[in-house]
Symmetry: C2
Subunit: 332 residues, 2 copies
């Protein structure tokens, strides 16, 4: 059935591709159909400081309708916004946009999306979750005041789930556990993940404030734990360890502008909003109480090794492929 | 980008939902867009004796355009075909259809799809894989002779992969290994799969000719190995075992119209075209040489138990969710 749920699902799938990478913004997806129901664009918010989902979708839809090399080369969100306001020429008249979250209504690093959608003259805005962030609230009202049809709560539960990390780090903190395993749960078999998976992990490290890792891994792997594969920043580190002595020539200790804590508890997480844990079975067990979500990278091989063993039940949220790996977000 | 690949991918995803269930027919998906590019339907061939993908998609598209309770209630493929030929009223004029496999050109249990698409007056037929089954070949030619635009080899590799089981069982046989595991690879922890997963497995048993199972499982689980959850037939059984003595009160021995073989080799598979293997680590190791594909049902829990250990590398082909389980088809 090609209906609201179908379109919203496509927007959701697109947004999930950037889950964890939009910090401190929420992951949001958007899809535009023209007056005849043809899909013009499916897009998402990808990174703080880059266009919101609605703006990306509007740009992509505009480029699908007009061969415009000027717009194609504009990447600055405010400039895309201005360009579309000036040049839209009623192209979006009678179009509908599906967006997983109520369009923002405040001037942040971009002008408000509610203003964009109003001025472009969309016929209808179909929304998943309502905004409850006081900074951004009011989008639906502005749209309605401008005579635009608005519906919301479409696939509400799924859209809320997409939004969960954002709500957590707004409230106090979002903590996720990243683990790479083989198909039979073994994880100590050398490099497991594909290059695309490792790049995704580095992109996550670039966004997180704090990375928690076990003392044994630090001693055995001597890691640097930066985000060199994507040219990003290195998060602060909490080494979870009873033993406080470490060889300070281990690379992670020698990264500029990084704090390294060594502790046998997790009290320091109070000072952070977005936290990644990396590790194996022991860390999985030790961090159960502080972890919101789990991110599994599963390589399609069966290999002998130590297998996960610490009993947990998960709720699958989203899965995709990165080269040959399965990447799966789980809630609990 | 909303392009040929986008539409063909949606048709592919739909077709994969019925992989293994269409025997002896191929799994095929189809998607129809109207003259303006709106998606009218996404459908698939679901089961032998029911409509081909093209006919299902045409019916669904017709119902999306016209509230027709007569057609809604017709399930017989020939009758749907006739009804559409009589009543289409040029509704499909200028529509395009994407189909993962060249439309058939022979009168089987349904009239040829190439005839259907020609008469309905589609503007263009966009095809993934070309047909090389001599019974069905000629669809593209008939379409072209009727003045319809045809393109093919769109996402050819993915469409060929969807078609692989069909090609195998046409040639000699298709053998797949079905296994249910927890997220950490353990498989001897009691009931693992969700009800939807078990129903899918029963639907597969209903279609397969032969089911191979290890002697130890037969002795310990005393299974019946039928397809009662879907009200289907019970496949013949090969018990792979060095020890030939079994307690004949084990339910699998007492199913009508079923042959049961007990052997320490796989020679009997020569007499079968569509074979499922069920088992754990030992069977995985023992059947490597005869297995084409693997079907994993992965429950989202970590549980203590015996874990898979027999080294294999897979190529992921398709994954979806059945309730909370991940279902994943792998090639090798």
């Amino acid at each position: 059935m090609v209906n609201d749920s179908f379109y919203m699902n496509l927007a959701l799938q697109e947004a999930w591709k950037y889950q964890g990478l939009t910090y401190p913004n929420p992951a949001v997806g958007a899809l535009i159909i023209d007056k005849n129901g043809k899909i013009l664009s499916i897009s998402a918010h990808k990174k703080h400081g880059t266009p919101h989902a609605e703006l990306n979708a509007a740009k992509e839809a505009y480029l699908a309708l007009k061969n415009d090399t000027v717009l194609q080369n504009i990447t600055n969100p405010s400039q895309i916004h201005s360009y579309l306001l000036k040049n839209h020429n009623n192209l979006f008249k009678n179009c509908k946009i599906y967006v997983t979250l109520e369009p923002c209504n405040h001037f942040g690093s971009t002008p408000p999306c509610s203003l964009l959608l109003s001025t472009l003259g969309f016929d209808e805005v179909i929304i998943g979750s309502r905004e409850d962030n006081p900074e951004a609230i009011g989008g639906i009202n502005r749209l309605k005041q401008n005579g635009i049809n608005v519906r919301y709560n479409i696939l509400k539960e799924k859209c809320d789930s997409l939004l969960y990390p954002f709500k957590q780090w707004k409230k106090d903190r979002f903590v996720f556990f990243k683990i790479a395993v083989n198909l039979n749960g073994t994880y100590d078999t050398g490099t497991i993940s594909s290059l695309d998976s490792r790049k995704y992990v580095h992109a996550l490290r670039d966004k997180t404030d704090l990375l928690i890792i076990g003392g044994n891994t630090v001693r055995s792997d001597r890691p640097i734990l930066d985000s060199r594969l994507v040219g990003g920043k290195a998060p602060d580190i909490l080494i979870y360890s009873k033993q406080k002595e470490f060889d300070k020539s281990i690379p992670l200790f020698n990264v500029k502008n990084r704090k390294v804590f060594i502790s046998d508890n997790f009290e320091i997480i109070r000072d952070y909003n977005y936290i990644m844990i990396e590790g194996g079975d022991n860390m999985l067990e030790a961090t159960k109480e502080i972890t919101n979500w789990y991110l599994f990278f599963i390589a399609p091989v069966i290999k002998k090794g130590n297998s996960l063993n610490s009993p947990i039940s998960f709720t699958p949220l989203y899965s995709t492929m990165l080269e040959n790996d399965m990447m799966q977000w789980f809630g609990t």
